[in-house]
Amino acid sequence: MDFELSRDQVALAELVRVIVAGRFPIERVRRAEGGRQVVDDDDWAALGEAGVFSLTLPEDAGGAGLGMADAAVVFEELGRGVVPGPLVATHLAARLAARAPALSGAAGGSMVVGATRPPSGGQPWLVEHLDSLSALVVRGDGGRLTVAGPAEVAALAAVARPIERSLDPLTPLSLVPAAGPALDSVIDEEGAGREWDLGTRVLTGALCVGIAAATCHLAVEHAKHRHQFGRPIGSFQAVKHLCADMLVRAETARAAVQAAAVTVDQPDVGDPERAAAGGALLAAEAAVANARTCVQVFGGMGFTWEVPVHLYLMRAKVLAASLGPADVLAATVADRY
């Protein structure tokens, strides 16, 4: 038993950190704020080339043959860098490509694949990043997956209404009428929906852990350098304790998400469903709570558009929403406890 990162996992994290620092410095990413196409094709291809979308594919399918544990390490780094775009959906779509040829470009990053879960009762759906997508995976009731290829996505985009202002300025939204074009590439294979849900919870959880850790770091650095009453605000216990709680949330969420990833890879060590639901629950909570606390520690500046802390908060809310209601995740844990 060794639950520390392996040397390869440490190297993988470092590699992704370098790519994020080079391609996605926050001031550069922010230039796309409010735009309809936030995902840059070259950047997406660079992520693909680095293996972000293919690393859990078997080697004979062009992947690295790695597990969800390795993917969780990579996605934590992407979360830390608030890298925009449907990262989780494109990664999971690459794993579906063997069953859905329309998704074959996902692994290499030549396709941007989104995901959505339509509301029941014929309500219109909100789709993220629609204008950047070349495919869309629709997660229906009962674990049914439907794939919309490039032509169908274009048809969806043609009838969709753009949302003028989305909460996260780097996650554009479109409203698709329920009576949109029919999607007929259905993947009904047993296990596909389950794998999709587990992957969504683990990798979204990992993005959230990255946000929780990043906002903890930002708050601590601010508290060390911002002076009031002639001393750093981080020397006041009221501020210190906020920061300590941020670390506790980030570290427990990381342990939970990484254990979930390992359990998906090695189901003999536990219950993957319970671990993934619990990890996602705590990670989403940690991301939102830490980002809010970061706004608080930054004080008035934290409430300004200029300081990028709010981007972490809004992304955390986008990720939390993609996981569904917290009570549903908690009930999954309770039922399987």
């Binding site: 216990q237 300590a244 506790v248 990484q258 629950l281 917290a326 009570d327 406890y337």
Partner: protein, 396 residues
């Protein structure tokens, strides 16, 4: 990251499990919580069984008579004892987890030969005299004074929060030998026989109604210089040595029993058709317990790699102590008016006979949970430690 155990670790587990399956059912009934002589008999009997089977001092260094097990084996050990519902270390806590390991490292050969074997065999019980009425979180300000008189120290002062003092044979005592304001630099570690004239024990009643700890008063208590561990004025370092033995397994038993308690709360709540809000709280607590079990394995792995525990210990302690209070709250809330009685109620869903947690256990868990955020460093001090030592924030 690998959560599977090696073949060697699994062999260790199987051997221990096999022994526990025979030993635990052979134990007599647990004594009442406030009958300390009976508790001593029960706990030391268990320690003797462990010793005879070669399971005493698993985590102790071999030169101290222990098994020298690595961090992962220590984790397996704690996990298996918890799963078998084996007795907690009880009155052997200070000897096995604190004084013993300290003597194993800092003691002379004569001191090791004198003190260690009786701890492992369950023949001598230790208590701890560290905290004082005016030196709690700020331990370095302690004032109990020891003055050298020939080959003896004469000790005067008082100590507090001393668990099972009335049944202890020896006390690991921190005394002031340096000047009044010498703080960490003027403290000495002494082994004091509890039957030495001049020691008065005054048990304190807790809010749970039991006498878990006592105040100690020292009035011209004479202690041989030979009972000093390490050099004079070097006792702070000596006492802190033990902390370096902590491998992140200290709370395994309580963590796993919390999992069991939550599971039985879930079962009873489900039978009663609990509202969705209760299910969500149960699930949230379950997710947190799972996360802390993962964090435990992370901390143990770190200790196995680096030889020292990482940052996880303080993080774990903070999270678990507060979680334990919320678990206590939930249990008492679900029990409703049955949670107002310390007496075991016969009948109803909260009688122990119904298979679930009894109302008395829920009351006990709830009341005792308040000590968790105080003992071994209050949550406020823990937050300072996390902020200053891990996050690097400046001291106030």
């Amino acid at each position: 990251m690998d959560l599977r155990y090696t073949a060697q670790e699994e062999r260790f587990r199987a051997e221990l499990r096999g022994w526990l399956e025979g030993a635990v059912p052979s134990l007599p009934d647990k004594p009442p919580a406030d009958d300390w002589p009976a508790r001593r008999t029960y706990d030391t009997h268990w320690q003797r069984l462990l010793f005879d089977a070669g399971w005493a001092g698993v985590d102790w260094p071999k030169e101290g008579g222990g098994r020298g097990a690595g961090p992962v084996e220590q984790l397996v050990y704690a996990e298996e004892l918890a799963r078998a519902h084996a007795p907690y270390v009880g009155v052997n806590f200070v000897g096995l987890l604190h004084a013993g390991p300290t003597i194993a490292v800092e003691g002379t050969p004569a001191q090791r030969a004198r003190y260690l074997p009786p701890i492992l065999r369950g023949e001598e019980v230790w208590c701890q005299g560290f905290s004082e009425p005016d030196a709690g979180s700020d331990l370095a300000s302690l004032r109990t004074r020891a003055v050298r008189d020939g080959d003896q120290y004469v000790v005067n002062g008082s100590k507090t929060w001393t668990s099972h003092a009335e049944v202890a044979d020896l006390c690991e005592l921190l005394v002031r030998t340096g000047p009044e304001d010498s703080r960490h630099r003027g403290i000495t570690w002494l082994a004091v026989p509890m039957d030495t004239p001049g020691i008065e024990i005054r048990p304190m009643r807790t809010i749970a109604g039991t006498t878990e700890f006592a105040e100690l008063f020292f009035d011209d208590v004479r202690v041989p210089v030979a009972n000093r561990l390490g050099e004079e004025d070097d006792g702070w370092r000596v006492a802190m040595v033990t902390l370096s033995f902590e491998r992140g397994t200290a709370f395994v038993g309580e963590l796993l029993s919390s999992v069991e308690l939550l599971r039985s709360l879930r079962d009873v709540a489900a039978q009663q058709g609990a509202p969705a809000a209760v299910t969500a709280r149960i699930g949230h607590l379950g997710a947190e317990l799972d996360a802390l079990w993962a964090l435990t394995r992370r901390n143990v792995s770190q200790a196995a790699r680096d030889g020292v525990p990482g940052i996880g210990g303080s993080v774990f302690k903070l999270a678990f102590s507060e979680l334990r209070q919320r678990l206590g709250d939930l249990g008492l809330e679900l029990a409703g008016s049955a949670g107002l009685s310390w007496d075991e109620l016969a009948g109803g869903p909260w009688s122990a006979a119904a298979g679930g947690p009894g109302n008395a256990e829920l009351v006990d868990t709830w009341v005792n949970s308040f000590s968790r955020t105080i003992a071994a460093g209050t949550s406020q001090i823990q937050r300072n430690i996390v902020a200053e030592r891990i996050l690097g924030l400046p001291k106030g």
